[in-house]
Structure formats: C-alpha cells, structure tokens
C-alpha cells in the first residue's frame, strides 16, 4: 500500500537506521539510491521519485539526512511523502532537532517510534503528543509503571487525552497571514495571494468543546448578515480535530482542541487584482440576489519595490532601489529586509540609504537592505555601487528576483477577524481566549531585468 521499508540515510547515502515494514523487498536495494541521485545531479536533474528496477524510492531531505521510503507496488505517493514529513515532525518533537547526531544519540527511541508510527506499510499513530504518552525515553518495568496504550490512540478523538488539568484555563490564538507575491520585471503583479494560518496554544483542562467564529463571508451569507465586513476564504484547511462535515454543512468551526500548540486551520485568498471574479453563486432562495462580483479583496502589494540595476560590463554595477509601504500609516512593518541580487563577481561595495543600513552578502550574491521600522505610507531609497572585474566570468547567471521580508503586527491584510471563541467544558470553568494578529511576508518576489 505504501512503503515496504523506510531508511534514514546520511548525505553520503549510508544507512543510519532503517525499518523493514513488509519484508517483501531486499533491503540492500537502497544501496542503489545514492548512485542514482548522483547521476541525476550530474545531469542537473532532480526528482523526488527515483526508480531502480522494480524498486521505487520516494525521498525527502531534512538537514543532513535523507528519509527514503522504498516500495515495489503502486503506492499512494501523496501518502508516503506526507508521512515522511510527519515522521520528521515527530522526531523533531522528540529530539528537538532531527539530524544525523540526534538519530545516533537516540537510536533506541527511533526504533521504537518507527515501530509505532507505521505497521506493514500503513501509517498508524503519528501524533507526537499522544506518542509521548507511551513511548518514553526511560526504561520501564512492566509490573510497575509500564505505560499502556492511551485510549486516545484508537479513539475518535485521537489527538487529545483525557484528564488534562490546568489551574488557569486559557487559549492563545495567533492569526498569521503570509503574503505571497510575484511581480514581473515590468512591474505588473502576476500573482498575489494570502496564506493565513490560525495557530492555537491551548491551556485548557478536560475535554473542552470549542467553537470559533470568524467574519467568514459564506457564513454571513447563510445567516443573512451580509452587510458586515467579511472575508471570502478561497480554500480552508483544517486540523484533524475540526469536524469537517459540520463545516461543510453550516460553516461552523467546532472542535475539541489538541493540548498545547497546534495549527488549527489555514486558508488561502487570491488577491491578484486583474482577476475578474465573476463566479455566480446560485442561491436557492429568491430573496437573496445573485452576487456577481464578490468582494475579492484587491490588495495592493504591502511593500512595493522599484529597482534599476545597471550593469556596465568590465567596470561597475549601479543599483537604485525605491521601497514604498502601501498600507495605512497607523501600521508599521518591522524588520524589513530587502534582498537585491548582484552578480557573483562584484567587489568594493558602496551604499547610500535614506534610512536603514545595507550589507553585502557575498555568499548569497546579494545586498541586504535592513529597515528596522517602516511605517505605512512612506518611501525610502537605497543606492549601491559595485566594481566589476575586467575579466568577465563565463558562467551564466540567472536573473534572480528581489525578495522582501517583513512583518506587520496587529494587522491582517485580508481583514479576517476572530469574532468569538466559545469554550464549553462540562466542569463549567471560565476560560479566556487571547487573539493576536500579524501579517508577514511569505514568498515575496519581484523579478528584475
């Protein structure tokens, strides 16, 4: 069904640890993996799926490790990759960081975990919080304190154990929006998208029932409150704990939360301006008029960059960059870092900025312009000057984009709001939800000429 065996390899392809789940393949086949990878690398090729004879290797790389699943069947590839990433997550929860050392230092636990998270190629329990309840790093005497499988493992609520107790019950919510932007060299926005995420830190006793209310457009339409400011989420993804059928029926987000930190949901909004959004919502009720142009939020790119990069062969490169913040002046972007690509063979950098400071990063072949605090509605300039060697390097360089990093606290681009978080537990305690909003740069690229 999925993996016959899973290997963790070092960068040279040596097996650090492995687990043979199905016993239907020769474990030595993995020796072919690295040579194939090297050959592909020589051809400047790369694929997350490599084949040797009847063996298929699905791999991911994490730090200095390869996690490789081997199969000879028509495995569910999506499941395998998603499982490998989950394994990384579990190991990270256990060992803080997953790398060669941590595997060696904890090989007994690694074996135990590998035994528990997958059986005969079928992924089993992969929730690290639950695993930690019965796979611990201390040896156990069977008669005394040997753990039993927590009922949670097999329960419908497989992510939260019973009997959790806190003195003070609280929930912290972070609404984090990442802005992905792709701008062409001619300055038109090709793609602009918000990927939002609601993260929870749950400090609640017992088995609380939570209900989250957002200013979700579809929900407001159902309930007939169309006048309020709403957000139309294009696609929403939920944590295992959210009752998906319920959401599908009446847009209610109801769940029993996992304890501690978790990502409750993520959502996506396309904010590319040029897109004429004419999808017709057919309402069954004649009272509701058909809504032709829905309120796609047409967001200007939060930080707009104009750049001129002039290259005078054999002598110099001159760079002019103008950065403009296009959000309301009551918000401020923090830790703005604008990375401007330069040829790899430049020397003698000179900078001039109207604010902030510049750094030449030779290892990245880029100039980094840092602006600690960038209020809305402002415009700053930066100029850079580099020398070029008289002998031109023969290597062709790609035209790398300018990238921007920033974060804007207390602000969401989409305008999403948490209207309420209802917490109900049978013991009837009072619990307080805390909400924090932040917007940050995601994949924010502006192509250069």
């Amino acid at each position: 069904m999925s993996a016959s065996a899973i290997f963790i390899l070092d960068l040279k392809g040596k097996v650090l640890i492995s687990r043979n789940y199905m016993g239907n393949m020769d474990m030595n086949k993995v020796d072919h993996f690295m040579p194939i990878m090297m050959r592909m690398e020589e051809d400047a090729d790369s694929s997350p799926l490599v084949t040797h004879g009847s063996a298929h290797f699905l791999w991911i790389k994490h730090r200095n490790l390869y996690l490789v699943a081997m199969t000879k069947k028509n495995a569910n590839a999506a499941l395998v990759y998603s499982f490998l990433y989950k394994m990384v997550e579990v190991f990270k929860e256990y060992f803080k960081e997953l790398e060669e050392e941590s595997i060696r230092d904890n090989f007994v636990t690694v074996y135990e975990l590998m035994d528990e998270v997958m059986d005969f190629g079928f992924p089993q329990t992969t929730d690290s919080k639950i695993l930690q309840e019965y796979i611990t790093q201390q040896g156990h005497k069977l008669d005394v304190g040997a753990p039993r499988p927590p009922a949670t493992v097999t329960n419908a609520v497989s992510w939260r154990s019973e009997g959790i107790k806190y003195r003070k019950n609280e929930v912290f919510m972070d609404v984090i929006e990442s802005v992905n932007l792709l701008v062409s060299a001619t300055g038109s926005v090709l793609r602009s998208e918000i990927v939002g995420s609601i993260k929870l830190k749950v400090v609640l006793s017992g088995m609380p029932e939570l209900r989250l209310g957002l200013n979700d457009k579809v929900l407001f339409e159902i309930t007939g409150r169309e006048k309020s400011k709403t957000v139309e989420l294009e696609d929403v993804k939920f944590h295992q704990c959210v009752r998906l059928s319920r959401f599908e029926n009446d847009r209610t987000i109801s769940f029993i939360p996992p304890d501690g930190e978790s990502e409750l949901m993520s959502y996506r909004l396309n904010t590319t301006v040029s897109r004429t959004h004419t999808h017709t919502r057919v309402h069954t009720s004649p009272l509701l008029h058909v809504n032709l142009l829905s309120s796609v939020c047409q967001v200007k790119p939060l930080i707009w960059i104009e750049s001129v990069i002039e290259k005078f062969s054999h002598s110099r490169v001159e760079i002019k960059v103008k950065a403009r913040s296009q959000f309301k002046s009551r918000s401020t972007a923090n830790n703005v870092a604008i990375m401007v690509p330069v040829p790899s063979d430049v020397d003698s950098p000179k900078f001039k900025t109207s604010t902030g400071s510049c750094k030449y990063l030779p290892e990245k072949s880029a100039v980094q312009w840092n602006i600690k605090s960038f209020p809305g509605g402002k415009e700053y300039m930066m100029r850079a000057h580099f020398g070029l060697p008289s002998v031109e390097s023969t290597e062709l360089e790609g035209r790398r984009p300018i990238t921007v990093n920033f974060e804007i606290p207390y602000f969401t681009v989409s305008g999403i709001q948490v209207r309420y978080l209802k917490i109900i537990e049978k013991s009837g305690y009072e619990a307080l939800p805390w909400v924090r909003y932040i917007t940050q740069s995601g994949d924010y690229q502006l192509r250069t000429n």
């Binding site: 069904m1 070092d10 043979n20 199905m22 016993g23 239907n24 400047a44 997350p48 799926l49 084949t51 009847s54 298929h56 199969t71 000879k72 069947k73 028509n74 495995a75 569910n76 590839a77 999506a78 499941l79 990759y81 998603s82 490998l84 990433y85 060696r104 904890n106 090989f107 007994v108 074996y111 035994d115 005969f120 079928f122 992924p123 089993q124 019965y134 040896g139 069977l142 040997a146 039993r148 499988p149 097999t154 497989s158 792709l182 062409s184 090709l190 793609r191 990927v195 294009e234 696609d235 993804k237 295992q240 998906l244 059928s245 599908e248 996506r268 590319t272 360089e397 790609g398 690229q445």
Partner: protein, 975 residues
Amino acid sequence: MEWANQLCENRQFGSKMTDSKYFTTTKKGEIFELKAELNSDKKEKKKEAVKKVIASMTVGKDVSALFPDVVNCMQTDNLELKKLVYLYLMNYAKSQPDMAIMAVNTFVKDCEDANPLIRALAVRTMGCIRVDKITEYLCEPLRKCLKDEDPYVRKTAAVCVAKLHDINAQLVEDQGFLDTLKDLISDSNPMVVANAVAALSEIAESHPNSNLLDLNPQSINKLLTALNECTEWGQIFILDCLANYTPRDDRESQSICERVTPRLSHANSAVVLSAVKVLMKFMEMLPKDLDYYSTLLKKLAPPLVTLLSAEPELQYVALRNINLIVQKRPEILKHEMKVFFVKYNDPIYVKLEKLDIMIRLASQANIAQVLAELKEYATEVDVDFVRKAVRAIGRCAIKVEQSAERCVSTLLDLIQTKVNYVVQEAIVVIKDIFRKYPNKYESVIATLCENLDSLDEPEARAAMIWIVGEYAERIDNADELLESFLEGFHDESTQVQLQLLTAIVKLFLKKPTETQELVQQVLSLATQDSDNPDLRDRGYIYWRLLSTDPVAAKEVVLAEKPLISEETDLIEPTLLEELICHIGTLASVYHKPPSAFVEGSRGVMHKRLPARTGSGESTESPDVGTAAGGSAPEAAPSIIPSQGDLLGDLLNLDMAPPTTSGPPPPTTGMQMGGMDLLGGGLDSLVGISHSVDPYLGGDIGGSPAMGAGFGAAPAVMPASLNAPVGGGLGDLFDLGGVGMPMGAYIPPKIVWLPAMKAKGLEISGTFARRAGVIQMELILTNKAMSVMTDFAIQFNRNSFGLAPAGPLQVLTPLGPNQTIEVSLPLSTVGPVMKMDPLNNLQVAVKNNIDVFYFSCQYPISMLFVEDGKMERQVFLATWKDIPNDNESQFQIKDCHLNSDAASSKLQGSNIFTIAKRTVEGQDMLYMSIKLSNGIWVLAELRVQAGNPNYTISLKCRAPEVSQCVFQCYEAVLKN
C-alpha cells in the same frame, strides 16, 4: 560502523548520556564480550548488552551469532528491553529459522499479557517474522487478538492478518481470518475499521478476483461514517477503498460525493488527493446538467490550487495529477493559469511540471500572459527549463492560432540571443509552425539560415534541413546549403541523414536542372555507402521512383502534407481513465498504468471509470440508424502525439518535439532516427496510395532497428505503437497495390430453404462482399418434376435497409434436377426496420409455382465498408466520446494467429487496424469498422502471445451491433 567509531572518539570526552555510547564496542572479540554480558545476571547489564547488539546491527554488523543469547533475554519485565529483543528477532529470525522457534513460547505468552501494549507488540512482531514454522503458532494468538477487548490490540491484529496473508495466503483463508477481518469493518472503533479496510485492500490487491471487499451500499455507509472519525491515515485508507466502488446509479454516486467533499478541507494533502480521486471517479456518473455537478466542479479547484503551497515533493505529486485532471476535465482549472507561474526558487521538477500545465491551460483568453511568462523563462539559465520553455512557445503558436504571429516573433527574438541551445530549440519548433500554418511565416527562413552553422544537435539539424528541402524553391542557395551538409554525411546521425536524403530529393524535383549531381551523390551515399537499412531502403525507393516515373515521384515526394493539429501528447483516453482511478499513487506520477511497473500485476484488472447512468442522460442513448457516423471529430481536440503515443499521427513524428512529460525524460538517439523515416518524403509518398495513411508510415518505420527506437521511447506511454512484425517494405508494397489483399470472409453456403418446404425448390446461399459490392449468392435447385420459371425475389424491411439492387437474374427456365448459381447484388438503401436478431433477413422468393418465404442471417461483415479506416485522432476522440456502458467485451477462444496475421486477415473484411501497441507481451490492436449505414464500431483486440484466447472490447454508439460484430470477428479469425 565508521561513524560508530568516530562517534566513540568524539564522545569519549563528551556526555555519556546518549545512546551513541553503545556504538563504542566495535572492537575485536566483542561478540564474545557481548555474549558474556547478555548472559549476565544483572538486568541492567543485560539491557546495556542488548542495546550494544542492536547498535551493531544498526550499523550493519552481523550479530546473528548472538541469536540464542539475545532470545534468552526475551522474557523480561522491561518493556524497552523486550522491544529491542523483538527488533533483533525480526532482523535475524529468517537467517536462523530453527532457533526462532525458541521465541515462540514467549510470543504466545506475551499475546496474553495483561498489558494491551505488550499483546499488540507481540502480535505485531510475530507477523513480521516471516518464518513458516512460526506462522503456524501465530494463528491461535492472532485469533484471540482479533477479538481482543482493547481496540489497540484489535487494530494491530487486523494488520497482522495482511502480514500473515502475505506469507501464507492459504493458511489465512483456511483459518477463516478473512471473515473476521471483514467483521472488523463494523467495529465500533474507527482506527480498527481503518486498519481492517487497509488490510483487506492490501489482500484484495494481490487477489483481484477474491471479491473480498464486497462493497455494497451498506458497507459503504459504514465506511463513510468511519471516515469522519479516523485519523488522517485511516481516512486515506477508506477513501482509497471507496474509490474502488462503483455506485449503482447517479443518485448513490451523488450522495457519496456529498459525504466525501468535506475531506477536501483536510490539512493533510494526501487526504485531499484521495478525496479528489473519489470525486473525479464518481463524478463520471453524474449527469452534466445536474446542478450538483457544476457545484462539485467548482469545489474541486481551490483545494487543487492549495496543494501547490505544500512541500515540494507533494507539489510534484499534485502537479502530475493536475496534469491528468486538466486533460480529463479542463473546465476545473481553466481560470487558474496564474497559479502555475513558475517561481524562481521552485525545484526544477516543479518548474517543468508547471510549464506543462501552463501549456495545457493556454487559450486565446490568457495567451498574452502565458507568452510573456514563457519569454521570461526562455531567458533563464537552467538549460532543461529553457528548452522546454522555447518548445512551449511553439506549442502555443500551434494551439492558439491567434497567437501564432506573436509566438513566431518571440522565437525570432530568442534566436537573436544566439544562445546555442535556444536557437536550436527555436528552429525545431518553427518547423512545426510551418507545418501548421503553411505559406504564412516562411519569410523568416532567411533568419533561420543564418544560424545554420551553430546547429550541432541532430534534431535541430534535421529540422533545418527539412525546412531547406521543403522551401527549396524560395531559398536561392538551397543547393549550396544542402551540399554543405553532405560533406560529413557519414558522421551525421541517422535522423539527419534521412532528412538530408529527402530534402535533396525534394530539391531535385523542384530544380531538376541544377541539382542532378547532388541527388546522385546523396542517393549513392545512402544506398551504397551506408550500413543503415532504413537509409538504404529509403534511398532505393527514391531512386526507383525517380528513374521509373519522375512525375509520380513528384506527386509522392512533394505531395501536400496533412496539417498537424494543436494538442500535444495528450494521454490516450483509456489510459487517462485508468490513471484517474489511481490519483495520488505512483501510477499517477509516472503516468503509467500500475501493470507497467509493478511486478506480478499483469493479471490485475485495469481500473476504469464508471459509466454514466441514470435518467439525466437518457436522451443520449444510442439508436440504430440515427447515431450514425458519430459527431466525435469536432467534439474533441485532435492530437499531435509524442513519440510512443498510442494513436499518434505518425506522419509528423519525424519532427515532432519529443515532449517528454514523463518524469525522467529518457531521450535516446535511436528514437528520432526511427521516426524520421516517416517524415519528409515518405509521408507524401504514402499520401497517394491512401489519402492519409499514418499506419503505413508506422510500418515503414517498423523495421528491426526502428523497433528498438520505439521500445526505448519515452516513459510517458507504455506503447510502442505499431511496430509490426511484417515490417518494412512488404507493407509498403502491399498498400501500393503490388501485393494481393486477402479477400473478405465469406461464410460457406448453407441451405436456406429446403425443397420440402418450397414445392421442390431448394435454395442455399451465402453473402459476400466483393469489390465493395454486397452480394447474395444463391444456388437454386429444382427438385420438383416440373420446370420453374419467372423467378423474383423480395426482402422484408430489415435492420440495415438491405434490398436487391436488381432483379434476380434467372433467365432460363430451371428444369427438373437442374441447378443454377446466381449472384444478386444488394443495396443498403431499402426501408429499415430493426430485426431480432439484428442481422436477420426475411426473404420472399417467387416462381411460377408459388411464393416462398425464408429467413436467413447474414454476416454483418458484409456491411463493413472499405473506407472504414478511421483517422487516429478521430479514433481517439471517438473512443473517448462513446460512453463506457456502450462497451462490450467478448472472448474469442482457440485462435492461433499472431496479432499481425489476425490484423491482415481482418483487414480483408474491412476491419482496419489503426494502431497496435504491445504491453508486456500482450498486443493490443485498435481497429475501426464502418457499417454501410455510417455506424462506426471501434475495437480493441488483445492478443497474448501463446494464449489462444483473444479478448475483444467493442465500443459503438449503437451497442446493439456489438454482438454481431463479435460473431464476425470470430468467423473471420477462425476461417
């Protein structure tokens, strides 16, 4: 081991707290030491020793010698130690089967431990020890564990059944474990249900006929309920299992879809993809005019787009699947072009896939943006990506006519960059643009010619030569240009040689006076100095043509070429359907059916999409007589295949871009060479013997050397299309009219009307189709005493409107005991009435004595018309367009012909083979038949070497004829 040693050095000064210290004992005599430690009385020491053993095992050291000592540690009350010993057992039991028995008792005991964790651990491990002797002992514990009160144990035991089945299937069946497993589908615990489903699916996969999963509305309902409560993985097991179910009607289909759609909001991409699979499959059954259908279409787009924000490997899987989905249902993502724009930091495999999808989504509405992007990509530095981008521009030109001009000028700009590989790619695609839009862009030829010298890749050289040959009359110095290539003729690749040969012949035909010497030179190079049979053969053909009939040569070589059309490398519809059923799996990533890469899956049924059912579509139900001819051609886009594409138009393959959409593009030098024969000259040669006959082209290309090229063709398609055994020139001559085509099948004459029933007149006869004329061949015998005269014949209305085309020609009176043979030509324009059986014909014969009636059945093959050879593209589109429930499958038993013999035999009866592909020794012949009333019948005949039983699938808009058509196949093949 190295790292263990290193580590030990590094670690000696550092912390001793971590497990890495166990790796420090790799010194001489350690086995001995370990043995002592394992047998120590001190528990702590024992445990440490086992850890050291496991550490050694981990670094690949053979510690099997310690087997008995480690097994002795098994009976421990320390859980961690127990797990380690179990781990050791799993690794070494196979090499020490006799000693493994020692462990059995402990296993059995542990299966009854008070702690469910231990019970599960024992049953889980036991299943992993693949030693027959142990397996026997596993049965009883397993039986108990399957009924254990703790769900953790039950869910582990469920998987164990699959393990045991893998080792000893018979045992599992005998012990009745399968039934217990089926019962677990109704377990109260969702995880147990999920694992039971997973185990059953796994077992069912290796035993496709076992009907294990026995899915019915009740069990489906249970699964759907469990779906809401399982872990994410369990949800995937269940969704994948659901995807194997075929709902009874559209209503059931819709209700399942409704319950599956919420899964599209799951955070796990694999859950989303499995849900997409179920929806894509069941959607097939929904009537398109249903509101729900369009709602569902809309719901699919956002989650597919979101998958592109996943980790790169998952993005890749998603993109490969989206590639399938946009081919199956282009409407889902048609507005989402921009999400496939390439980002600078995308991995190369993601970039290439995005590019592919961009071209598929390109349309007049978005072409400007697409082109701007492609131009951007074409100036990147990554060679593969740039090449693909340049080709993509050419594909856009061909696909969106309005954009052709802009594409051409973009390509010219790119040629100006003088970047070598960009120029070469551009020239290759410009050649296709010339073919698509003749007499429009030839003005750019001059620019192309400037770059002649920089071309060093065979494909680009061949393309350029083709252009020079094709437009020789417009290029003043065409002879010089071609001559310059001729100097190094023998160093060129076959592809270039062939192209050069054709180009020079073209040139000669256009400017005979100046180029005689040149053409002689190339003909002699090709025929006398070359070892390449294809080159020689082509050379000889030209030579003979030129020397015997220059006018014919002109008609052949300079014939008008068929236009090439827009869509490239679409996946063949049956394969596409199969792949849609495998969304999310390796098959969907490779774009190959599982049977192509999974060992031992040959007998496994190919998955198909369910057929549309229900009331909504009833108007579409086929009707004999009216559904004639099919409106398919305009319905589906026509296709330029990539090499190896099943139903490709072979004619333009010589130059078609090798658009490899398979993950690792295996380009072989051979394949282009092989295809090239079909190009330039010969395609037009073919053009006169048959209007357009791609099949012939394929045959020419199919000589042995070519076969290899085909075989190694891209991974995209398992098919090597029609590499025929007969091969080579034989077929060429055959179609050219030299060989004798085999005649149509004519059944032996039988008595239709016995003398007893007709006052002494006996009529026997048969039907035949001779030279396109249907004939009823009759033998009339007078067994009466008196002379018979005044014969006449009449038909009742019948299914295909058969009627005598003239009077029954019995001119002289028929005396007693006299016999006369008569042929009655038939027409098909008579009145139509559906008969049962379809091919039943009621006949009235009159003479001076009386009128007699009889009925007879004609072989439907006599209605197969000569122009029943469908074009590949049309075939493909039609096959796709005919609903699946119109398909019927038959077996033809005891037929000992090979596929080629069968094919030519069938051709005699106007059953035309359009393409052939071979998958794992199984030949699949794709055939078309056209009935006299315009009904098309498409067939797929599977012939397995050494197996006398053929399988035939027939698809027709009027499925009623299938049975009759099948009978004809049988009759033709067996006679």
